[in-house]
């Protein structure tokens, strides 16, 4: 496994042109800025030669001035390009990484999403990307600068005067030492600060959003302790950071100040003894001061490097996650589907050694409508998830028209299966977009027809903007019943042979429920349907009922058969309405 840095580097190398442009511009820019003290040197020497002569030659002075100004302009322009290309490089890398990550997230199976929290994933595509962006666009480019500046400056310093260079560099190890010590001290502080601060924000968020409970239960003191505890920690960490930081900056100033005094005095002797010109001395000091920045940048580089690598490894971790459900290379295209479903000895669970389904077998004929009932954790919804291969069974087989679903291309399998979930997800966009979600190229009359069958067309047409009405975040809020009917229209538009209904009416009031059931009835007509439900009204849509208990099928038959049997189903059935006995007693 390659390191995160190497992989990040591979992304950078892919942007050959941008990377090359950046490097060229950097070298040229540094070279241009390095020429400045050179010109200053000649100029100082020239001015000295003028002292007391009164022999002022304007054209020579203008020559020096314009040389300097054009160097300033050129290095400024190059600096602009430098910044532009480094930002371009970082943005391009981030863009590719983001798209790779996003595409990969689309392919990861349910199992992955069961274990990870949404906030974490969002952080990967935003916060972590920004960290990497800053690293490439800023830290990395500064590092390249530091290195180049260092090499060029030392070469020039040596060429001006080797002795002075040695004198000046007595201080350099000290400077490097200061920066390294500083980094070693503050890196862990910054790390901890980061985590403490994010925990602090969580406490605030929970406190404010849970305010009613906080006030009603008098939880303020509990939260105060928690809050102040984090606030104390944040304060301590920031102050201890400040302690090191306040030594760092002045120390660099002090050391470089001392270096230039040494150079001035020693250089002064040489000027007096005519072994060095004053211009050389001034130029030397200017070059020396150019080294301060690279040293500081290098310090920052180390901090940002660590943080960027943490972010990068988190991103690569997601990119490396293998989808648990994978398409076999020789998977076939599933063209015509009649809609027979079979479970053959299927065992499956979410947590190792805790199977939810224990060797389940059943057969569903094409066009049959089967309801699955059972208590919490009995595995009802799990059965549904195995059919479109959101998960693969541990053992046994799931077959559609006699073909193992694992032998079929995922996309072709899912094209034949429609699903209506308990909670319908409404995406931002228009109502039309939401109905056409699974078939984005659907024609308008198809969409209207689907909405009509789903019984939502009337509602949509009375909206001022009709099908173009925006929903979700930026638009109107749909009621539970409306959402369900949109989901039904979605499924109708897809025209699948198999329908899976995962408790689609559980969150509705009775009146809405009746209307949704009406729409469901039309939806499942002429299709195979499996309905997981706790509601009687939806139960009635089925010809046959499977009763699940602790991962096993315990009863199988029609509603009437099972009720008269007086077994698990009859009990489950009564318990749901137990509290209505009083009412029933009155009426019967």
């Amino acid at each position: 496994m390659k390191t995160s840095l190497a992989r990040l580097f591979a992304y950078m190398v892919r942007e050959k042109k941008t990377l090359a442009s950046f490097l060229i511009v950097s070298v040229t820019g540094i070279a241009a800025s390095m020429l400045v003290p050179w010109v200053v040197r000649d100029m100082v020497n020239y001015i000295i030669s003028l002292i007391g002569t009164g022999n002022f030659n304007l054209s020579i002075m203008i020559f020096y001035a314009s040389a300097l100004v054009s160097l300033f302009v050129a290095s400024g322009f190059l600096e602009f390009l430098d910044r532009y290309f480094s930002e371009l490089l970082s943005q391009k890398v981030i863009f590719r990484l983001r798209v790779d990550l996003y595409s990969h997230l689309q392919d990861l199976s349910y199992g992955f999403y069961d274990k990870i929290d949404t906030g974490q994933i969002i952080l990967r595509t935003t916060g972590d990307m920004d960290t990497i962006g800053r690293f490439i666009g800023f830290s990395f480019s500064r590092l390249i600068h530091s290195i180049l500046t260092f090499i060029i400056a030392i070469t020039i310093l040596l060429s001006i005067n080797a002795e002075l260079t040695v004198i000046a560099f007595i201080i350099l190890p000290l400077l490097t030492f200061v920066v390294i010590v500083f980094n070693r001290k503050i890196a862990p502080i910054l790390e901890e600060q980061w985590t403490v601060f994010s925990r602090f924000n969580t406490v605030i968020k929970e406190y404010i959003t849970g305010m009613r409970v906080v006030k009603a239960l008098g939880l303020e003191p509990v939260f105060r302790d928690n809050y102040m505890d984090k606030a104390d920690r944040v304060y301590d960490l920031r102050v201890s950071f400040a302690k090191f930081a306040s030594f760092m900056w002045p120390s660099i100033g002090l050391l470089s100040g001392i270096a230039s005094v040494l150079v001035y005095v020693y250089g002064g002797f040489k000027v007096i003894s005519h072994t060095l010109s004053l211009g050389d001395l001034v130029a030397f000091i200017t070059y020396l001061s150019m080294l301060n920045r690279p040293i500081i940048s290098f310090g920052f580089f180390i901090i940002n490097y660590k943080r960027a690598m943490v972010s990068a490894s988190k991103i690569f971790e997601v990119l490396d996650a293998e989808p648990e459900v994978r398409e076999e290379p020789e998977a076939i295209e599933l063209r015509e589907v009649k809609g027979a479903i079979e479970f053959r000895n299927v065992t499956f669970g979410y947590v190792e050694e805790k199977p939810v389904l224990k060797g389940i077998s059943f057969k569903i004929r094409p066009g049959e409508k089967v309801a699955i009932v059972g208590g919490t954790g009995s595995g009802k919804s799990t059965i549904l998830k195995l059919i479109p291969r959101f998960y693969d069974p541990w053992s046994g087989q799931v077959l559609i028209d006699g073909i193992d679903v694992r032998k079929v291309k995922l996309s072709s399998l899912r094209r034949h299966i429609g699903i209506v979930h308990q909670d319908v997800f409404i995406f931002s966009g228009t109502i039309k977009d939401n109905i056409a979600y699974g078939k984005p190229n659907a024609k308008m009359d198809e969409i209207i027809e689907a909405a009509r069958i789903a019984g939502i067309h009337d509602f949509i047409s009375q909206l001022p903007r009709g099908y173009e009405t925006p929903v979700a975040e930026r638009g109107i809020t749909l009621s539970g019943g409306q959402r369900q009917r949109i989901a039904i229209a979605r499924a109708i538009l897809m025209n699948p042979e198999i329908l899976l209904l995962d408790d689609p009416t559980s969150n509705l009031d009775a009146e809405t429920e009746a209307r949704v059931v009406e729409a469901l009835k039309k939806l499942i007509e002429d299709r195979t349907a499996i309905i997981v439900t706790q509601r009687l009204s939806t139960l009635k849509l089925a010809d046959r009922i499977l009763v699940l208990d602790k991962g096993e099928i315990v009863e199988d038959g029609t509603h009437e058969e099972l009720l008269s049997k007086g077994g698990v189903y009859a009990r489950l059935y009564m318990s749901q309405f137990a509290h209505q006995e009083a009412l029933l007693a009155r009426e019967v």
């Binding site: 000295i48 002292i51 022999n55 002022f56 002075m61 203008i62 100004v69 300033f72 302009v73 602009f80 532009y84 930002e87 943005q91 798209v99 997230l105 689309q106 349910y110 999403y113 969002i122 595509t125 969580t202 404010i208 305010m211 009613r212 409970v213 006030k215 009603a216 008098g218 303020e220 509990v222 606030a231 304060y235 102050v239 400040a242 306040s246 002045p250 120390s251 100040g257 005094v261 002797f269 919490t376 959101f390 995922l410 996309s411 299966i417 931002s428 699974g438 984005p440 009775a510 429920e513 706790q534 009204s537 009720l563 318990s575 309405f577 137990a578 509290h579 209505q580 009426e587 019967v588």
Partner: protein, 606 residues
């Protein structure tokens, strides 16, 4: 020349309007906050002034070293000035360390004190205040606004003050070296200010675009991940989603590059201006040297002062640009700190042990904004009675519960517990003996047991296990990956809705309250969990005075008495069965909610 480190922050800072109050007043109040740190503030002022003066002094000594030492070939002078320079550097180092440290300390201490102050305020403020402002806004006051006040408004203000000193000092130094040269150079001044302000404004506009594009990207990801299960059911989606994500990603990239182009102009343009100034020094200064009106050392010193002038002037101009929005953040914090709580503990409030748990509402008048929710409202809840409150949305069910819990105070009339006006009871004493089970269960980032313990922070593990056993939840807890010690992720995302509700019920039970307010949950759960919840609720309501806010009528059969509210009035009252027999509002509501099921049962059993 280096970009000052926070130049980027000054430009990219989020803007949220301008303050209403006058700038002067807000600055005064900000200063009054830091004046409290007398000792540190005086050390800061002294060390900052010292480091500025020493900074300004250095080029002057440097000039003497060149002119009277090197140029005059005077070794003694050279060494003397060299030593002087070194000792100035050392003193400057001490002053610098103390200046940086004191400034950071004051900033951090101020942030800490503000955070503490705000939290204390939040404890005094009543629920009414929090429900009138969006949670996101309050959260941002506690986080972003506090940081902005500490770092930009206060520490930035001090920084700007010091920068101004440096600028003034540099100008004076330049004037004293050579006033003609100074005036010549100062023709550049308006150009500098114009450039900085224009670029800062343009780049702020550009970064605003970046922020909004990043926001788009974030919501796209958020939506994709939350809807991933839906998306994967439709094989067509992958291509479309990746395409639209790439498009937004590309827009983010372009916006960033556009912003970089704008801000990237700052340095080259400043360099150009600096180049102009240097050209003037060389040509005009060189001329002055040649006629003996200036020395070479003074030119070098003059140049150093010019550099000292250029850095701070950019900072000051940029600071001015963002100061307004920093002040607006300060104002939002002051508004919060100044907010008046409307539920206040009376100075003579008593500790009351609730014996019976009798509640009365006498001639209660309450309104949120002048449209009354309750007018002359009267209600008596007997000790140990279970009262269910039913009615359409907006009838005042939740308000009634909030009044009984004293989350709000009525504007007229009074509410008593065991005959004592609840405004005469210490808030903490009232809270200790009441409990709320909210409609939407609230879970905190803690373990399951930790979440239950929020009900009574001193409850032992044994007491909690005992409560769980009494509620009949052992099996449910056992199913969790690490039982009671399972960590709850943010908002309880890793638990089912039913589990969350049950934890909230256990949390209420562990308090052993005299009065319980149960806000019925609306989201339904599977029959098994539903029956667990029903059993647990029965246990919770035993031997206590209970008010049930019945949204779905799923618990009204537990009540001794049901009242039906409409527009703040009781329109029907009686037991569940009585009201059904009466065939009025309640019977109709019940029919609508559960009729379908009732009909089905009748059919099945008949």
């Amino acid at each position: 020349m280096a970009h000052p480190p926070h130049i980027h922050r000054y430009i990219t800072m989020e803007e949220k309007g301008r303050p209403r109050e006058s700038t002067i007043k807000l600055i005064q109040r900000l200063l009054s906050l830091i004046v409290r740190y007398k000792l540190r503030l005086s050390i800061l002022l002294i060390s900052a002034s010292l480091s500025i003066i020493l900074n300004l002094y250095t080029p002057y000594i440097g000039r003497l070293l060149i002119d009277q030492g090197i140029m005059a070939a005077n070794v003694d002078n050279m060494i003397r000035y060299g030593i002087l320079l070194a000792s100035i550097a050392f003193t400057g180092w001490c002053a610098g360390v103390s200046r940086f440290y004191m400034l950071s300390w004051i900033t951090q201490k101020l942030l800490y004190d503000l955070r503490k102050l705000m939290f204390e305020k939040s404890m005094q403020l009543d629920y009414g205040y929090f429900s009138s402002i969006e949670p996101g806004q309050i959260i941002s006051r506690f986080t972003n606004d506090v940081d902005t006040v500490g770092e930009t408004a206060t520490s930035g203000l001090l920084d700007t003050l010091f920068n101004s000193f440096t600028i003034i000092g540099a100008i004076i130094a330049m004037l004293s070296i050579n006033w003609k040269l100074t005036i010549a150079v100062f023709f550049m001044m308006p150009l500098i200010i114009f450039t900085v302000i224009t670029i800062a404004e343009r780049s702020r506009a550009a970064y605003r675009v970046v922020r909004s594009k990043v926001g788009e990207l974030t919501s796209k990801v958020e939506e994709s991940i939350s809807g991933i299960r839906e998306a994967q059911s439709y094989s067509e989606r992958r291509r479309i989603d990746v395409e639209s994500f790439s498009r937004i990603g590309l827009e983010v990239m372009q916006a960033n590059i556009r912003a970089t182009k704008v801000i990237g102009l700052m340095n080259p343009l400043m360099n150009l201006i600096r180049g102009g100034a240097i050209a003037i020094i060389i040509v005009y200064g060189g001329y002055l040297v040649s006629i003996g009106e200036a020395t070479i050392g003074s030119l070098v010193a003059f140049y150093s002062y010019l550099e000292m002038f250029f850095g701070p002037i950019t900072m000051v101009a940029l600071f001015y640009n963002t100061f307004q929005s920093a002040l607006a953040a300060a104002e939002r914090i002051f508004d919060f700190i100044d907010a008046k709580p409307s539920v206040v503990e009376a100075s003579d409030a008593i500790d009351l042990e609730i014996e019976k748990g009798e509640i009365t509402l006498e001639d209660v008048y309450f309104s949120y904004d002048n449209t009354p929710v309750f007018q002359d409202f009267n209600l008596r809840i007997k000790p140990g009675e279970i009262l269910a409150v039913v009615g359409p949305t907006g009838a005042g069910k939740t308000t009634l519960a909030n009044l009984i819990l004293r989350l709000y105070d009525p504007q007229k009339g009074r509410i008593t517990v065991d005959g004592v006006d609840i405004r005469k009871i210490k808030i903490s004493s009232l809270r200790r003996q009441t409990a709320l089970v909210p409609q939407e269960p609230i879970l905190f980032e803690d373990t399951v047991i930790g979440n239950i313990r929020y009900g009574r922070p001193d409850a032992s593990d044994e007491e909690i296990t005992e409560a769980i056993r009494r509620l009949g939840l052992e099996e449910l807890i056992e199913r969790l990956p690490e039982g009671l010690y399972t960590r709850v992720t943010e908002g309880g995302a890793n638990l089912s809705v039913g589990q969350r509700q049950l934890i909230n019920i256990a949390r209420a039970l562990i308090r052993n309250p005299k009065i319980v307010v149960l806000d019925e949950a609306t989201s339904s759960v599977d029959p098994y969990t539903e029956s667990l919840i029903q059993k647990a609720l029965k246990k919770l309501l035993e031997n206590r005075t209970c008010i049930i806010i019945a949204h779905r009528l799923s618990t009204t059969f537990l009540a001794d008495r049901v009242i039906v509210l409409e527009n703040g009035r009781i329109v029907e009252e009686g037991s569940h069965i009585d009201l059904l027999r009466m065939g009025g509002v309640y019977a109709k509501l019940y029919e609508a909610q559960l009729g379908e099921a009732v009909k089905a049962i009748r059919m099945a059993s008949g």
